[in-house]
C-alpha cells in the first residue's frame, strides 16, 4: 500500500468514525438540526474518501463523476452546522440569562413584599420622595393619613402649593444630608390632626443624596394629653388658691347663713322681716354655690359617692336649672341605664351648669335635648378614656354654637365669652367629672348648636336612692359638744342648737373638746353627740380629736364639719368612725336633720 492510499484509508476511517460518533454517542449535545448538518458535511468527505480508496483498488465509476461537486457541498453544510450550533448556544445562553433574571426578579419581588409587609406593619406613615419632591412610595398608614399620591409632587398633593413648603424637613435633609424633624397640623373630618415628621436622606454609593424618607407620626393623642395635663395643672394651681379663699369665705357664710335661718325662725310672724331675711338668705345661698364651685377646684373636692341610677337626678336638676320660659328640656333617658357611682350633689351641680350654659346660649328660646345612654369605649376609640363601660349624658342645644377659637378654652377656669359670666360653670363641671374618673367632650360649630357629652364610668353594686331635699326643722333633746375655732360660728351654733332644744357646750379647739368630753364621761354626764370642725389652724383638728374620743368611747356619735372639703374625712367619714358630715355653711334645717338622723329620738317641729 502506498502512502496516498494509507492517507485515504485514514480519512475514510476518520470521517466514518465521526459519523458513527454523531449517530450513536449520546453525549454529543447538538440538537437534531445541528446533528443533521454535521452528518451531511461529514458524509461529503466520507464519500470522497471512499471514492479515493476505491480508485486505488482500480474500482471507479461510483462517485468519481460527482466527487468534485460533492466537495463543494461540504463547506456550506459545515457553515450551516456552525451557525446552527451558534444559534443553539445563543438560545441556551439566552434561556439561562432569562432564568437567572426571572429568579432575580422573583427574589426581588419576595424582598419587596417582605419590605412592604414590614413597612405596612409599622404604625407610622412612611413616604419616599426623590430630589424633585415626587412621591415614589407611600406605605398603608401614610396613605390613610394623606391619601394616595404616589407619582405626584408632595407639596402639590399635600399642601396645594406651587413650590416646596417653607421649613420642609425633607428639603432640609436634602441640603445637609442630616435628619430633620418638624410638626404640622391639618384639618380632617375628625378634627385637627397633629403630626410629627422626621425626614432622613437616602444616600447612594457615591455619597449623593438622591431621595428622602419621611416618617409621619400621628401625635394628636399625645398633644391632647399634653393639653389635658396643662389644663389639669392650671386647674390645680387655681384650685389651691380658690380652696384657700373658699375655706375662709365659708366660715363667714356659715355665720351669715346660719344667723339668717335662725332669724327667720325668730321672726315667724313678721312677713316683712321674713321677706328681707329670705332675700338675704338667697344671696347667701348664691354665695355658697359660688364657694362650692371654687372648692371643686381645690386639690380634694373629693366626691361623696353613691351607686345610683342618674336618670332622676338628671331630669330633676335639668328642670330645676331652667330659668327662661321659652326654653324647654326634651328628655331621652335610657330605661336600661347602667348605675354609676357619683356624688349626687356634685353631679347635680354639673347638670345645673351645663343646662344653664345651654339655656343662656338660646336667648331667643329653643329646646335642650338631654339624653342618657350606655356606651362601650374600645381601645381604638379617640376619646381619652380607659376602655370599658360608661354612661353618657348628652346636652344638645339649638344655640349659635361655639366658635373653633373658643372650643379648646371653654373648660378653662375664669374663661367666659358672656358678659358678667364667672367662667366657673364649665370648668367646675369638667373638674367634677374628672374627679369621678369620667370625661367631658364638646362638639360644635358656628350656627350648629353645641353638644356636650359627659362620660361617667359604670359601676357595680346595689343602687342607693337619691335623697330629696327637705326644708323641715327637727327639734330635739340632749347634750351636744360643739367645737369650732371661729367665734362667730360657735355663737351661731349655740343659738341654733339652743333654739332646737339642745344643751350645748362649746370648745374652740380639739384639745379643749377632748378634755371636756372626757371630764363629762367621768362625771357620768356624757354628751349625746359631738360636732367637730376639721380644720383648726394651729391647734388639734376635729379628725384627731374625734379619734381620741372614739378610743375612749367607741359608741360616741360624732359629726364632722368643714368649710373646705379637700379632706378625705369628709368623703369617707364613716370609714373614720364618724356618724356623718355637715358641710359649712349650713342652715338650721340641715343642722337639725343631721342631729335627727344620728340621735333619731327627736320629734319634728310643727
Amino acid at each position: 500500500m502506498n502512502l496516498i492510499a494509507f492517507f485515504d484509508l485514514l480519512a475514510t476511517i476518520g470521517f466514518g468514525t465521526a459519523i458513527l460518533a454523531v449517530f450513536f454517542m449520546r453525549r454529543i449535545s447538538f440538537d437534531i438540526q445541528s446533528r443533521s448538518l454535521l452528518l451531511l458535511s461529514l458524509s461529503v468527505y466520507f464519500l470522497v474518501s471512499i471514492s479515493n480508496v476505491l480508485e486505488h483498488g482500480e474500482i471507479t465509476g461510483y462517485f468519481d463523476t460527482y466527487e468534485d461537486y460533492l466537495e463543494i457541498l461540504f463547506t456550506p453544510f459545515f457553515l450551516f452546522f456552525l451557525f446552527s450550533v451558534y444559534a443553539k448556544l445563543n438560545h441556551d445562553k439566552r434561556l439561562a440569562a432569562e432564568g437567572a433574571l426571572r429568579s432575580a426578579l422573583e427574589k426581588a419581588e419576595s424582598e419587596h413584599s417582605k419590605l412592604d409587609a414590614i413597612l405596612a406593619a409599622i404604625g407610622d406613615g412612611i413616604s419616599i420622595q426623590d430630589r424633585n419632591f415626587k412621591v415614589l412610595y407611600q406605605n398603608r398608614v401614610h396613605k390613610e393619613l394623606a391619601g394616595d399620591h404616589t407619582g405626584e409632587l408632595c407639596y402639590v398633593a399635600y399642601e396645594r402649593r406651587s413650590e416646596p413648603c417653607r421649613g420642609c424637613p425633607v428639603e432640609a435633609s436634602f441640603q445637609d444630608s442630616r435628619v430633620h424633624k418638624a410638626e404640622r397640623t391639618g384639618k380632617t373630618d375628625k378634627g385637627t390632626l397633629y403630626v410629627e415628621i422626621t425626614a432622613s436622606p437616602i444616600i447612594n454609593q457615591r455619597g449623593e443624596v438622591y431621595a428622602g424618607i419621611e416618617v409621619v407620626r400621628d401625635i394628636t393623642k399625645r398633644k391632647r394629653m399634653t393639653e389635658e395635663i396643662l389644663k389639669a395643672q392650671k386647674l390645680e394651681s387655681i384650685g389651691l388658691l380658690a380652696g384657700g379663699i373658699a375655706h375662709d369665705f365659708n366660715n363667714l357664710l356659715a355665720a351669715v347663713l346660719g344667723n339668717i335661718s335662725l332669724a327667720k325662725t325668730y321672726a315667724a310672724s313678721d312677713d316683712k322681716v321674713i321677706a328681707k331675711l329670705e332675700a338675704a338668705e338667697k344671696a347667701s345661698l348664691r354665695g355658697r354655690e359660688l364657694t362650692r364651685q371654687l372648692l371643686t377646684f381645690s386639690r380634694g373636692g373629693t366626691p361623696v359617692k353613691k351607686v345610683m341610677n342618674i336618670n332622676r337626678l338628671v331630669r330633676e336638676s335639668s328642670t330645676f336649672s331652667l330659668s327662661s320660659a321659652n326654653v324647654k328640656c326634651v328628655f331621652a333617658l335610657s330605661d336600661e341605664l347602667w348605675p354609676v357611682e357619683v356624688d349626687p350633689s356634685q353631679l347635680s351641680q354639673v347638670v345645673n351648669n351645663l343646662v344653664i350654659n345651654a339655656d343662656q346660649a338660646m336667648p331667643e328660646g329653643g329646646l335642650i335635648n338631654v339624653g342618657t345612654e350606655n356606651v362601650l369605649i374600645s381601645p381604638g376609640d379617640p376619646i381619652l378614656l380607659d376602655p370599658g363601660k360608661y354612661v353618657r349624658i348628652t346636652f344638645a342645644d339649638q344655640g349659635h354654637g361655639i366658635a373653633a377659637d373658643h372650643l379648646s378654652r371653654i373648660f378653662d377656669p375664669f374663661y367666659s365669652t358672656k358678659a358678667g359670666g364667672s367662667g366657673l360653670g364649665l370648668a367646675t363641671a369638667f373638674s367634677i367629672i374628672k374627679n369621678h374618673g369620667g370625661h367631658i367632650t364638646v362638639e360644635s360649630g358656628p350656627g350648629s348648636g353645641a353638644k356636650i357629652m359627659v362620660y361617667l364610668p359604670a359601676a357595680e353594686g346595689p343602687i342607693e336612692d337619691f335623697p330629696a331635699q327637705e326644708e323641715e326643722v327637727f327639734t330635739g333633746k340632749g347634750r351636744i359638744l360643739f367645737m369650732d375655732d371661729d367665734a362667730a360660728v360657735r355663737k351661731l351654733a349655740q343659738d341654733m342648737l339652743q333654739h332646737l332644744g339642745y344643751n350645748i357646750v362649746l370648745a374652740s379647739n380639739g384639745t379643749e373638746a377632748v378634755d371636756i368630753y372626757l371630764a363629762a364621761m367621768e362625771e357620768n354626764n356624757a354628751f349625746d353627740a359631738v360636732i367637730l370642725d376639721l380644720a383648726v389652724p394651729g391647734g388639734m383638728g376635729g379628725n384627731e380629736a374625734g379619734k381620741k374620743i372614739l378610743t375612749r368611747n367607741p359608741a360616741a356619735k360624732i359629726l364632722v364639719s368643714s368649710g373646705y372639703s379637700n379632706d378625705s374625712v369628709m368623703a369617707y367619714s364613716q370609714k373614720y368612725g364618724f356618724s356623718g358630715i355637715i358641710p359649712k355653711p349650713y342652715k338650721i334645717q340641715e343642722m337639725s336633720r343631721k342631729l335627727y338622723e344620728i340621735l333619731g329620738n327627736c320629734p319634728k317641729s310643727p
Binding site: L3, I4, F6, F7, D8, L9, L10, A11, T12, I13, G14, F15, G16, T17, A18, A21, V22, M25, R26, R27, I28, S29, L38, L42, Y45, V48, S49, N52, D68, Y69, E71, I72, F74, T75, P76, F78, L79, L82, F83, V85, Y86, L89, N90
Partner: protein, 95 residues
C-alpha cells in the same frame, strides 16, 4: 491545468474561512478546536489540489491526501471528545 470545480471549491472554502474566523472571534464554541482544525485541513487539501496541477504533482498530491486523512482524524476526534450535556452536568455537580 486547473479544474473549474477545484477553483470554485477553493473560493467557497476561502470565503467560508473568513466567515468562520470572524465568527470565532465573536463566539468561541468550547470544544470546537478540532472541528476548526479539520476545516483548515480541508482548506489545505483544496489548496494542494490546485497547486498539484502546476507544480510538483507527486508531492502536492501526497500532501492533499495527507490533509484529507488529517481532516478525517480531526473530525473523528472532535466528535468523540466533544463534551456532552451529561458530561457538563456531572462536572457542575462535582463542584
Amino acid at each position: 491545468m486547473f479544474q473549474e470545480s477545484e477553483i470554485i471549491n477553493l473560493c467557497v472554502i476561502m470565503i467560508a474561512l473568513v466567515i468562520v474566523m470572524l465568527t470565532i472571534r465573536k463566539h468561541e464554541i468550547p470544544g470546537f478546536v478540532l472541528f476548526y482544525a479539520g476545516f483548515c485541513c480541508i482548506l489545505a487539501a483544496s489548496v494542494f489540489t490546485l497547486i498539484e496541477g502546476v507544480l510538483w504533482n507527486e508531492l502536492f498530491n501526497t500532501l492533499e491526501h495527507f490533509s484529507y486523512g488529517l481532516a478525517g482524524v480531526a473530525f473523528a476526534a472532535g466528535c468523540i471528545l466533544l463534551p456532552g450535556k451529561e458530561h457538563k452536568r456531572r462536572g457542575k455537580g462535582a463542584q
